[in-house]
Symmetry: D2
Subunit: 244 residues, 4 copies
């Protein structure tokens, strides 16, 4: 299949992670996928996996919170010359902490990673998509986007900021043909990050209590495929066993 | 294709309407679809259309607010013996009215049609689906499900009641394998009802400002197809041009 | 103190209950308070208590769900000739039940008591207050107004309907000088009803975990006293120890 | 009256502004009020006004977004030795801007002023109040706290972050006796800032369409006076004529 369109995922980490899965899924649909994240090693593993399945991808090392890096990422995309059809901001960093023990740096970093990076990414994405009046821009939210519970207050504050950003973008750019979507991932993803960062909690869920990466990616894709006469701007995703 | 599964839509009216389109869509996927509504004539037109496209359907005249009718509908479904895979409660009645001019009967009827009927339908649907621990149950909500604005206060009150019902059902029955979904249709549907009931408003939207029936049905279907590890319980749908 | 204004509380039950406390509080501020509920015995006890404290009150037996009763209540108020300054709809009935065991009658009754009665009461209240372009209309909501959790789905559906009604009324009548307020009582009230209906749960809260009746009434009154340039339309109330 | 308790307002600007009015109101109740903001001139005018009315106040020049300044503010408070009973974070900065024209610096500054400063202020306030297990901590929110509309997306994102912070704080510290409150000011305040920053809009509202400073302060105070058995954690305030 000759490449005609491109996609980009910022926030690609471990191969068994949502960023990687979104990239693979988009590549499997024939898009040239630009994958970006902080670890070149991890990106290369994901790129290998995409190429082994016959997909096309370009690796760009980038820190989502650095304006220069995000600019550079889109300069690379631009140079390739394929219209950008799908973009996913998938950075999701969470550091639980009682409020009085939360350092200013932690509070700031969580906001920068979950929200400021999304702002930088959104500006570039929209500037790319606007001339064609089409494309889908995804943001990955969480349970905490809707409810702030300690010890996740700093994370919830950052995710609420992201959700409002997504909503404002949807209101501003949907009429211009850009589909802005906020996904609320309510539960624990069956991936490396949760397994390592919240291992007890992860195990307590059991396999049926975890979100499967493929299942999430399929819904993102079906939302991307929606006709503009009936666009979804926000949806939740949770395992059937998840209490909510 | 031999029929193996069934679906049901309660609230099927004009052929150019959401109930009819959901029924056609489900039938096109190979389900035997039970279609129910108050007007036998309208149901028969929809049934003809389904059959002309090679689909299988059964017509049942039913008033969603009458317990006997809803019971009877499910007795017919039961008798056919096909496992029920999808059920959509699509009754959506709206009578705008300044509050002081709203009659008790109007206030009550709107609740009965938008919410009580949904309760009756849900009980039967869940009783049918529970033994198999699978199936999807849709409720059709509206902008007013989230915001009550005059002169739509009575409608909004009924739709908010429906939304809470759907949420309680999702919490109670998702862990038992039944996928309960609340769709927020935020905008005007390109169908007979809006064209007739709110014709000025309908026209003012222009074709690009209306929700296409096929597009709505496709999203319902893709939500139905979700893997249980990542279920959506609520999503919005609006035309890209719709202010919100 | 000569009586100049009146107030009304519909949903007055046991003396140690919110309806009774609101009535006493309003009477202590010099209003002639009309108290209404289904039990004449209970109303008389509350009336005695008001009069013993030097307050003025009139008892009217009324079922909030009966249009005739609500009409009659306001006919009595009207006859007295005192401008109506405050009105509280305090009917709050809750029957927990798994959804499949919830009878149609139960589902309907909860809606009638929590929402339909509020609609009837609101119409009469607004008709009374509108000529003077002033007055406050309170609705008592609950945790469930915002979240539907089994086995409280039917209750939550009714309370969500009430909340939307209150919101629509606030939007329609605030610009006409009528202050419409929805109170979200999030927790267990230190009163007879919770003690009897949910006694285990009630005890588990401990005294510090319960809402004090006087404290609730004081906030209602301070909201009533707000200047129209800064009106509250919704607020929550919960014990400081209440998890939420 | 001998001073026994203190209060603090961070975000005191023009004398005809909410920060100044809160400070005056708290001082009129007998608290020694620490007033902080960036402009020493403005602070001195407010301090004169407080002292002329017989109140006690201390001026501290502080930039809410600077950790050192906030620390220093609380060191001054601490030194005075009066138990801190009330604290209000009133910084509210808004720069409307279409998203593609919004600079990274603007997006960041709005977050720092509306949210990061609140985090710094909250940590110090809670550390002060916690030993006494009492005190009220207010955050001033806005319409945008709940809805992100262009060209206010950056502002809305920052205010949503603040709201989530307030909610997480309420959940963490209410059980420890600290009353955390998020006020949603939905409308235009009758003060210098709106008159200068949004003068056309301000004028279009007419006097009846603006929030009066005194009225806001009175509600803050009555919420502060609530008994801990029935605390409000969030409330809205809007002029009776304000559409919402």
């Amino acid at each position: 299949m000759s490449e005609q369109y491109s996609g980009v995922v910022l926030g690609v980490g471990p191969e068994r992670g949502l960023g990687a899965m979104l990239a693979k899924h988009f590549a499997s649909k024939g898009l040239h996928v630009f994958i970006a994240g902080r670890s070149e090693d991890k990106l290369n593993l994901v790129a290998d996996s995409i190429r082994n399945s016959g997909g096309a991808t370009t690796v760009i090392v980038a820190d989502a919170t650095k304006e220069y890096d995000v600019s550079h990422l889109f300069a690379v995309i631009q140079k390739r010359g394929l219209p950008l059809h799908i973009a996913a901001y998938n950075v999701d960093s969470n550091i639980p902490s009682p409020l009085l023990e939360t350092k200013t740096e932690t509070f700031t970093t969580l906001w920068q990673q979950n929200c400021l990076g999304a702002f930088l990414f959104a500006k570039e994405t929209i500037a790319s998509m606007k001339p064609n009046q089409q494309g889908t821009l995804f943001f990955t939210g969480a349970t905490a986007s809707l409810r702030a519970k300690p010890p996740f207050t700093a994370f919830a504050s950052a995710k609420a900021a992201l959700r409002a950003l997504a909503q404002g973008l949807a209101r501003e750019f949907s009429p211009k043909g850009i589909h802005v979507v906020h996904a609320i991932i309510d539960g624990v993803i069956n991936g490396d990050r949760a397994e390592q960062q919240f291992s007890e909690y992860y195990k307590s869920k059991g396999e049926e209590g975890l979100l499967k990466l493929e299942a999430i990616a399929e819904t993102y894709w079906s939302i991307h495929c929606q006709h503009p006469s009936a666009w979804t701007h926000e949806f939740d995703l949770r395992p059937f066993k998840e209490p909510f």
